[in-house]
Amino acid sequence: MKSRMLMMVLVTAAVVLVSWLLNSGIVSLFVPIAMYLAMAQGWNLLGGYGGYLNLGMASFFGLGAFGAAIAAVNWNQSLPVALLVGAVVAILGGLVMGLLSLRLRGAFFAIFTFVSVFVLEAIANTVGITHGALGITLPTFSSLSYNTLTKIWFDAFIVLGLLATVVVWLVERSRWGSSLVAIKEDEPAAEVLGIRTMRVKLLAFLFAALVGGLAGGLYAYQQQFIYPSTIFTDTVTLQVVLMAVAGGGGSWLGPVIGTPLVMGISALMRLIVGSVVVFGNGIPAQLELIIYGLMLVAVGMFLPNGLVGLVKRWRGRSATPAATSERLEARGA
């Protein structure tokens, strides 16, 4: 166990180191990948392992962003304190949302979390503390060059992403992880087995809130200017879900594969569409998003367990429901 943790630290250190050797222009391309890796991993516990379709990642992201921005601007706090405030706000939001919604099953949980994004947008647009629809401009770090800042943001996001990955990896091997899987397979049965389902789900939901909140806080600093409708937007949520599911929800490796893959493909498509356009009567730009949509469809139809599932199938390893419940019983859950 220790050696693996060491390995994770080494990998993180290596990635951080590499980022300082590269051109900041290239690093800037990876900033969103690192951010979404963290978010997808945050989503993964409840969404991937627990099978609860959380469509509210943008809510946590936005609470974190506005929490940090308010702390930084209204209360003149330093960056670490602001990030902490953002995380706390996101967790409190997660607690309220979780207590309200985690008793709902299936589609209604999804609807609740989906609508929460719009509710928070409406609140942020209206209350004074967020400066309403006018948005908040965060303090700049004028002593640092833009290039240096780009690398710092990348490193911050990637460290967050890798930490989240480690947590998910640990949870996967814990009783908490097995309980989540049991909930996904058969929640009433899990209850009968004595799993305190509400607590298990709530903790996973709060993990999503924590990671989403931290990512949002960092994003606010990175963007410098945020306002409600840029932050509370369902595209953030959908990206997160796609990345996690395409890679393989319910596996710590899923988001690690899915995030760069999805972001890479969409960057590629943007450039293809963009460059073809230059030669005259280009292909319509909508094609790019049509392909994106078809990708969602294809993943759902052919890769229901993501790329990780595909690889597992090749190796002939299949996690059958029986296997999981056996594991659960063996643990005496």
Partner: protein
């Protein structure tokens, strides 16, 4: 777990990470390496690269498509006549998907990978604002025909020059001047203001200090605000607001809107038989939108602003009007003239200085006057232009310029028909 598995797993992880980074990296680089090589070559035939992003998909797809049309028209014209400095011009317009962070990362690509020579701005403040620190850090001049925002221009310290003849805060300035110029008997005294909850329209209402924008102009020109309400984006029912405006006896209705609520407000005003003397839309130039006419009678008499109207005989304006006519767009959109003006200034500055050096161009554009499709322009130190917006009234399917007087093509119908 056996050590072997552990090792294999870790290697697997690293390989996957490397592979996926590779996929993303190549994706980002592949299609842009070609122009890069061309730019690096010393051949005098190497094209001048002009880059920028536009929202080819998403919420701002349509205006963006028309920007692109102007850009491509200009590039074709230039290339037909021997290019710029004897070199062909090549446009690299990337799709930012109406998404600010996508736009930001693409400006990085344009500057770092494509090594573009000149930069155009994306469409709208929402998408463009995160690009400002990027161009500033690279000391690249941004020719901005795409968005406004007094604060952003201050932040850019002159590295961004505007081709809009008014900024967000000034949206309603000339409208109030025009109202003030009306004879007392025809002048509304009370106004109702409806404002979309969007940073841009809020700035339009109250500036950045809470007292600027419309609030200041109304006070300055002596109009009384009897109703001042904000509404959330996506509002579907304006009936109660319009009824209140009626009830409070507002003689003028000023709506600071984005296009969609602008349509709905105009429709509601008509349906609820509210007859203000003046119905003005500030915040987006709704009356120059392609489908404003589809509102039928509800559109008649509504007012808005624009940067240039065909009758102004500005340099190149007629060509742009003809271009849009050829594409079946009858009313010239505001941004088309701005888009063309940006390219005209590029052309004039590059030709005059014989240089693509950003510092040289910076000095030149800030010290000269340019003859463009939005008029003879001279930039303020922060890169903005003095407010020379035109006030329009939409009458029987056409936009009549009613202010300022020297460009007026007709007189306003007050009270509105």
């Amino acid at each position: 777990m056996a050590k072997k598995t552990w090792l294999r797993r870790t290697i697997g992880l690293l390989a996957t990470a490397a592979l996926s980074l590779g996929v993303a990296g190549c994706g980002a680089l592949n299609s842009t390496t070609a122009p890069h090589h061309q730019a690096a070559s010393t051949s005098s035939k190497a094209p001048i690269l002009i880059g920028g992003t536009l929202s080819l998909t998403g919420a701002f797809a349509d205006p963006s498509a028309q920007y692109k049309m102007v850009d491509e028209y200009w590039a074709n014209q230039i290339n037909k006549h021997g290019g710029l400095l004897g070199r062909p011009v090549k446009l690299i317009i990337l799709n930012d998907e109406s998404n600010p962070s996508t736009s930001a990362s693409e400006y990085e690509t344009l500057i770092n990978q494509d090594h573009v020579n000149l930069l155009l701005a994306p469409y709208t403040t929402y998408v463009g604002s995160p690009d400002v620190p990027i161009i500033l850090s690279h000391h690249m001049l941004m020719f901005n025909a795409g968005f406004v925002g007094e604060q952003l221009f201050d932040q850019a310290k002159g590295w961004m020059v505007s081709f809009y003849t008014y900024q967000d805060i000034q949206y309603t300035q000339n409208f109030f001047k025009w109202m003030h110029s009306l004879p007392a008997s025809k002048r509304p005294k009370t106004i109702a203001v409806l404002t979309d909850q969007n940073p841009f329209t809020i700035a339009d209402l109250q500036g950045y200090d809470g007292q600027g924008g419309l609030l200041r102009y109304a006070k300055q020109y002596g109009f009384k605000i009897v109703l001042n309400e904000q509404y959330p984006a996506g509002t579907t029912n304006f009936d109660s607001l319009i009824e209140q405006a009626k009830l409070k006896g507002a003689q003028a209705l000023v709506a600071l809107t984005l296009p969609n609520s602008g349509f709905l407000i105009a429709k509601t005003v008509y349906q609820l038989h509210y007859h203000p003397m003046v119905e003005f839309f500030g915040g987006s130039e709704v009356t120059t939108l392609p489908n404003w006419s589809s509102l039928g009678a509800a559109a008649n008499g509504t007012m808005s602003t624009t940067v240039a109207a065909p009758n102004q005989h500005f340099n190149g304006l007629a060509q742009i009007v003809a271009l849009f006519k050829a594409h079946g767009v009858k009313v010239l959109p505001s941004y088309a003239a701005s888009a063309y003006a940006a390219l005209q200034v590029i052309q004039q500055a590059v030709t005059a200085t014989h240089s693509l050096n950003q510092e040289v161009l910076y000095k030149y554009v800030h010290s000269h006057t340019f003859n463009t499709a939005v008029g003879r322009i001279h930039f303020a130190p922060n890169g903005t232009l003095p407010n020379t917006s035109l006030v329009l009234q939409y009458l029987h399917g056409t936009n009549v310029v009613v202010w300022p007087k020297q460009y007026a093509t007709g007189s306003a119908v007050v009270p509105m028909p």
